[in-house]
């Protein structure tokens, strides 16, 4: 296990380092002067020169890259041009919305998908199974952002139960803030739940074919008890792996869904930063998200290997 752990952590470090190289290289490839791109062609030459100095554009790229990565290791992501604030602080503010949103979406998706998947597996080939799998197909096919718009249309425009967007802030009270996050979280959870329900069903069907499950059934245990006590814990290993892999889709989904609901989260910050040509914010946030995706995947691998020794052989 220790050798696996060391190997996985080394892979994580290598991938994270490569991710920083990719982000740096892409923004390095900008045609023309990045300072001029950020400030616009009508900017004063003094302002362009000052920004060039701040970004260290007069230094060779290896020195700049080393300084950038070194800064990030100390929590320094540079200063946003638009907000005149350190990117790290901006990110921390926005995470106060994106993290609860992603967490809520994850809980909703697991809360919907796992019971549905188990339900379908217990009724393989019957109407209930078909209904769950049809939900799975539809959930994957319906774009999250369209579903978000449909939710606004129904619950905000028609029924008036929720606001069509925006965020009152946590200081307005947890109830109001969570209410503002509920529709976005449902929109974010739907495609994830659809995929997860299919995975849970397959994993549960595989487990149902195991000898010990047949023994439990033969002993006369009720189906519900067999599903809960014997099938669920074993089916959860592939489900946990997929849940971890889905984190990257959740990140991508949050960028879009936050924009549908005008939630001032990390995704919206990133989208606005593009419109504002704030490359320092784009660079910092993209690296942070990419490294988080890599880290979450590694953690899921390690957690799964701790529960189930089989993956250690193949990874």
């Amino acid at each position: 296990m220790l050798a696996f752990l060391v190997r996985r952590l080394l892979t994580l470090a290598l991938t994270a380092w490569l991710a920083t190289l990719v982000v740096f290289a892409v923004l390095e490839a900008i045609p023309g002067d990045p300072a001029l791109v950020m400030l616009g062609t009508s900017a004063q030459p003094e302002a362009v020169a000052a920004l060039r100095a701040q970004m260290g554009l007069d230094r060779p790229w290896p020195v700049r890259y080393a300084g950038w990565v070194g800064g990030m290791l100390h929590g320094e992501f540079g200063t946003s041009l638009t907000y005149a604030r350190p990117v790290a602080g901006l990110v921390a503010d926005r995470l106060a919305i994106t993290l609860p949103l992603a967490g809520l979406a994850l809980v909703l998706s697991a809360g919907i998908a796992i019971p549905l998947g188990l339900f379908a597996a217990g009724r393989q080939g019957r109407a209930g199974d078909w209904a769950v799998m049809a939900f799975g197909q539809m959930g994957i096919a319906v774009p999250g952002f369209w579903f978000a718009i449909l939710l606004i249309l129904l619950f905000s425009v028609r029924l008036g139960w929720f606001s069509a967007g925006g965020f009152p802030g946590w200081e307005a009270g947890a109830g109001l803030a969570l209410k503002a996050l509920l529709l976005p979280a449902v929109a974010l959870a739907l495609p994830e739940a659809a995929i997860l329900a299919r995975i849970t069903r397959t994993a549960a069907l595989d487990t149902l074919r195991e000898e010990y499950v047949r023994t439990a059934v033969a002993k006369g245990l009720p189906r519900r008890v067999v599903l809960r006590r014997h099938v669920l814990p074993n089916a959860l290993i592939p489900v946990a792996t997929i849940l971890g892999l889905q984190f990257s889709f959740l990140v991508a989904g949050a960028v879009v869904v936050e924009n549908v609901f005008t939630l001032p989260g990390l995704g919206r910050l990133l989208h606005q930063a593009i419109g504002q040509h704030d490359l320092i914010v784009v660079q910092g946030v993209v690296v942070l998200l990419a490294v988080t995706v890599v880290a979450v995947n590694a953690l899921v691998d390690i957690a799964c290997a701790a529960i189930d020794p089989r993956p250690r052989v193949t990874v």
Binding site: T11, L14, T15, A16, L18, A19, V22, V23, V26, L27, A29, I30, P31, Q124, G125, D129, W130, M133, A134, Q137, M138, I140, A141, V142, P143, G144, F145, W146, I149, L150, I152, L153, V157, A164, S248, F249, V251, A252, V255, V256, N259, V260, L270, H271, A273, I274, H277, L279, V282, V286, L289, A290, V291, V293, V294, N297
Partner: protein
Amino acid sequence: MRGFVRRVRRLPVSLLLGGLLTALVVGAALLSLVWTPFPAEQVRVVARLRPPGPVHWLGTDHFGRDVLSMILVGARNSLAVGAAAVALGAMLGVPLGLAASAWGRWGDEAVARLGDLLFAFPAVLTAILLTAALGAGAVNVVLALGLFNAAVFARVARGAALAVWRRDFVRAALALGRGPLSVTLVHVLPNIAGVVIVQGTVLFAVAVLNEAALSYLGLGIQPPSPSWGKMLGDAQTFLFTAPLQAIFPGAAIAVTVLGLNLLGDGLRDALDPRHRSAGLL
């Protein structure tokens, strides 16, 4: 004729339904090359936000453009971006996966690490990064989606090729003195083609979804060229006055993705009976 009907009835339901839906969307895209009810980019402010009716079957948008015409041309744009992203991914990923399977441990390691790196950047994130550097547009979307697809194709091709390399006829070919390149082209590639085609269909569906999301954000296909994602973005502004405008482009995306996913499932069932699932499941 009876034999043909019997053969068709034996095909998986998902293949038939998926094929039908995909044919419908491809047909709409092809139709838009020769006919649309109105020119898709024609602005007529006097006819803005019209509800569906006999003249404009699906109504008009906030610029008075005919929604049906935009959806037809949008199908063409969406399928073109999806096809280009899948082709780019396959052209980069399949040779990489084949090479990794032939080169043994180091090749494997290189493809696994490259895969890790590309998976660290969800397609939307890559597109955002490329847009920040090079500006918005369909080409950058194809590049972003194609790179992500390449990682998936490389992994799938490698996995499938490794299984073929272990088979007796490949060992026999090697024993007869054929080189790895020749064995790869003559024996391995034809035997993994089915898996690659199935994966391509699924990635096509993912590319259509991602293109729509990026166009919604204004990072994909640029106006005045119609795209389903951008149409939804525009429709959101008029949810109170013209709610139906938010229905049609979304339904077009859902039908396309559903068709491609069902087609992928059906092809998998038809090409590999071990994977056969019940009906639509």
